[in-house]
Symmetry: C2
Subunit: 391 residues, 2 copies
């Protein structure tokens, strides 16, 4: 056979839009011995994982479990189970992932009404109200933390609007869960999904989801069969919900990793985790601003875990990111869709949200921009960030 | 917070229908440092993984890649991309997984014609011909290695029948790939899927698939959009097929494991791997028969990697499996569907197909059955197996 080198990925500092840095305990957990998906020990781990996810989502929802796929599979799971052809759906879109929701609803034969605002803006509540328009609506979908833009969207008012017309509220928590508060029960959210590779700091491959009783009632009253076998919650209910009836073989080792990742968060304490994300974000912003760079999103709507930075005129986006990667082993993200070449996406997610990452990134970026001949303020960023860290 | 114990799954010998024993090199690979899914190093690994999977499937198909889900997601990927409502589909069913194919086709609105034979039998070619009935058919689906029964199904004649009426041939290779020869190009198979947790001896979570040019042409000529966004090959083609356009975040660490697992197989050599599976199977059968137990499947149709053993009258299935697990840390499977309480499913898959596993299992089973008061032949099984191993 042809020769292949020994697997030896470089240790990177993952400060893009995900995957984020993985805690050593999580990497260790995923290499624990594989046991069977029907082994009593594994069933006990399943119970624990569901319990841990409920704490993370702040919910009592019984049907809270990780879908065996990545975040987008979580999105599809929520939508394919509740939507039927002809259903009216309102989707709020201010980035790539709202657009994905609309695409999925359209494929499922729903009548999609979009509330669109430019990338990087938050979606005003009255625009959503106008789109709902007092009409019977099956689902209102919105992204809590837009990974493509760094915008944080307030949720509770949207729930009220949705429920007024009997609609379910679907919230994308891919980038929010574990980074900023997610209060499924308090906000009265019906369906939510997340991913493991953002603020949970677990490798990608699983999508935690949670379904309210209201959404389960909708599923039980469907006229047609759920079109996806793999994502059919009626069957997943028997596997994750009660009798552990075999449906598909769960990704055992990934689930070990998820269990460990959520344990790490809860051991630190949710409030402490949120405060850490906020502080490191403030330190990063102080450093960037001291360097003369601007954030893309207005202050009240900024996500602490995903910072979009305006690329100054005349800067070669790809060259900067390549230097960060090859010289300093730092990964950040470029802009997606309408924001291509316009912003950098700097993640401080989960285990990656650490003072040393903020310092390393600021120092590396200043060095690269200076060499590119940009008129950045030199020697100010580190000190500005440090002041925040000490505060 | 509530206290949770340190993750500490018992080391089991996995001789069920999957997951199978995982080679230490694979467990080590999946805990390698996570890098980004758009990192040039990861892109290079993606190329290698596709190349390795082509060797395993014996195909030149460009569109050969691992779906980010378990084996059933692979099944659904193949079907959701080629089927449209009203399509005529012939599904050969002699076990649980043929039934699952029919279920998925039905959900997609296809007109499903089933060829059913009892669990444990192979499907005669003339029964398939009769079901096709010379009519224009979109897809013929069949399981190469029925995980629920241990039956091996000949494939090449089915391909000829399917192509005569312009149908695509879909083959379930979940349990066959890496255990018995799978010759996608030589047999002229259009769509095939597998799973990682059977003869590849990798943890569950990925589904290798391969699509022929003929099937891609069918997808390109669809009238309707693929109903699943997550599994839409039109977009996956841009990610796995050429430009590496971001679609979803690939399960990085699981892919490290898959790369290592396939490397292990190719380093040993496909022919050697198949011969090893065959020999350990023969040793197991010799031992079981010496003990007085019978195999459920007729000899010519037995899978070496999945052995269904008839449970003797008066034996408590669950009690035997529980003793195997709790006393000896051996996992085997019970019967599924129509075979519940009637058979044991003993896997010798991938890294689990080793002489020491055969010996351990025979010794443990003899001990348990003897204590249960069954009239098994004592002290013969080990010697009978050993004779085969030395031959």
């Amino acid at each position: 056979m042809e020769s292949y080198k020994t697997l030896n990925p470089t240790v990177r500092t993952l400060m893009g839009p995900g995957p984020s840095d993985i805690h050593p305990r999580v990497l260790s957990a995923i290499s624990a011995p594989t046991i069977g998906h029907l082994d009593p020990q594994f069933i006990a781990y399943m119970d624990e994982i569901q319990d841990l996810l409920r704490q993370l989502f702040s919910t009592q929802n019984k049907l809270t479990f990780p879908v065996s796929g990545t975040g987008s599979a979580g999105m599809e799971t929520c939508m394919v189970n509740v939507l039927e052809p002809g259903d009216r759906v309102v989707i709020a879109q201010n980035g790539v992932f709202g657009g994905r929701m609309a695409d999925i609803a359209d494929r499922l034969g729903a009548e999609v009404v979009k509330v669109e605002v430019p990338f990087g803006q938050y979606i005003p509540i009255d625009a959503i109200q106008k789109a709902i328009d007092g009409k019977a609506t099956k689902l209102v979908g919105i992204v809590h933390a837009e990974t493509s833009t760094g915008v944080r969207q307030p949720i509770p008012e949207v729930a009220t609007l949705a429920h007024e017309v009997g609609a379910l509220l679907l919230v994308d928590c891919v980038t929010s869960l574990g980074g900023i508060p997610v209060e499924i029960d308090q906000w009265d959210v019906d369906l939510a999904y997340s991913g493991t590779q953002k603020c949970l700091s677990c490798p990608p491959g699983l999508a935690p989801v949670t379904f309210s009783q209201r959404s389960i009632d909708v599923i039980r009253n469907r006229k047609s069969k759920v079109i996806s076998w793999y994502l059919d919650v009626n069957m997943l209910l028997n596997y994750w919900g009660g009798d552990r009836v075999y449906h598909h073989t769960a990704p055992i080792n990934m689930l070990y990793g998820l269990r460990e990742a959520v344990l790490l968060i809860l051991e630190e304490g949710l409030e402490n985790v949120y405060a850490r994300h906020q502080k490191n974000h403030q330190a990063l912003v102080a450093g960037l601003e001291a360097m003369g760079l601007a954030l893309f999103v207005e202050k009240p709507y900024r996500l602490p875990q995903l910072n979009t930075v305006v690329i100054p005129d005349g800067i070669d986006d790809a060259a900067v990111r390549k230097s960060l990667l090859t010289e300093f082993n730092i990964e950040i993200g470029g802009g997606l869709g309408a924001l291509k070449d316009k912003v950098w996406r700097v993640g401080l997610m989960g285990y990656a949200s650490r003072p040393e990452n903020v310092m390393l990134f600021l120092a590396a970026l200043e060095s690269i921009l200076t060499r590119q001949g940009t008129s950045v303020q030199q020697g100010k960023a580190i000190e500005a960030a440090h002041v925040i860290m000490q505060s």
